[in-house]
Assembly symmetry: C2
Homo-oligomer: 96 residues x 2
DNA sequence: TATATATTTAGATAATTATCTAACTATTGA
DNA sequence: TCAATAGTTAGATAATTATCTAAATATATA
């Protein structure tokens, strides 16, 4: 969870996720959407990968990135848990 | 959304939200749950307040904090939007 | 009124993060 | 084989963030 929250706390990374929502993209194609050097975009892609929000597949000289949103389950569950405070509090340590 | 993602990207603040899920607390009571000085906790409470994830009410010399999760709607909607648009590519077809 | 308690504000500092340039690896194709 | 292209890694730096101590504000109470 820690890494996912961190990954989501950045406008560039959130925009990358939105882009990948529409279609898989190479690292270069992702970079084309930003006014930023490629190594910086690579850095953001790496953080998204660490959070397991994206996966990458190398095809020849290209690296394709695509969304992988199964890890969002936990976060959505936690957020919904905040919303109905009357729920039985199975107090697991997601906060750390 | 920016401020909400920022507010959520910290273990102390996430734990504060979990605490407030169970009951409203004064700033001091919140601080008691952490190995951290009161001004630091006050700082975190302020960020949560800026994100409108908590509200505070002063009663005498105490300040009570409570959860205010309506702003989570947007985030949950956005997250679910990412999930829904999964797999535009060569992945497995959905089973019927 | 004076003192204690609860909380926040101000200012300093250490830690973390995002960005850059330069250099490196891997792959393609002439 | 060599040059071009795609992408990442390394190292430096600026910006942001989390923490602390000291001081300020507000309230309660003896």
């Amino acid at each position: 969870m820690k890494k996912i929250f961190k990954a989501l706390d950045d406008p560039t990374r959130r925009k990358i996720l939105d882009l990948l929502k529409d279609s898989d993209l190479t690292a270069g194609e992702v970079a084309d959407h930003f006014d930023m050097r490629k190594p910086s975009v690579s850095y953001h892609l790496d953080l998204l990968k660490q959070a397991e929000l994206v996966v990458s597949v190398k095809k020849g000289q290209y690296v394709y990135y695509s969304l992988s949103t199964s890890v969002l389950e936990d976060i959505v569950t936690w957020l919904m848990g905040l919303k109905d405070s009357e729920a039985p509090s199975s107090d697991q340590a997601m906060s750390d």
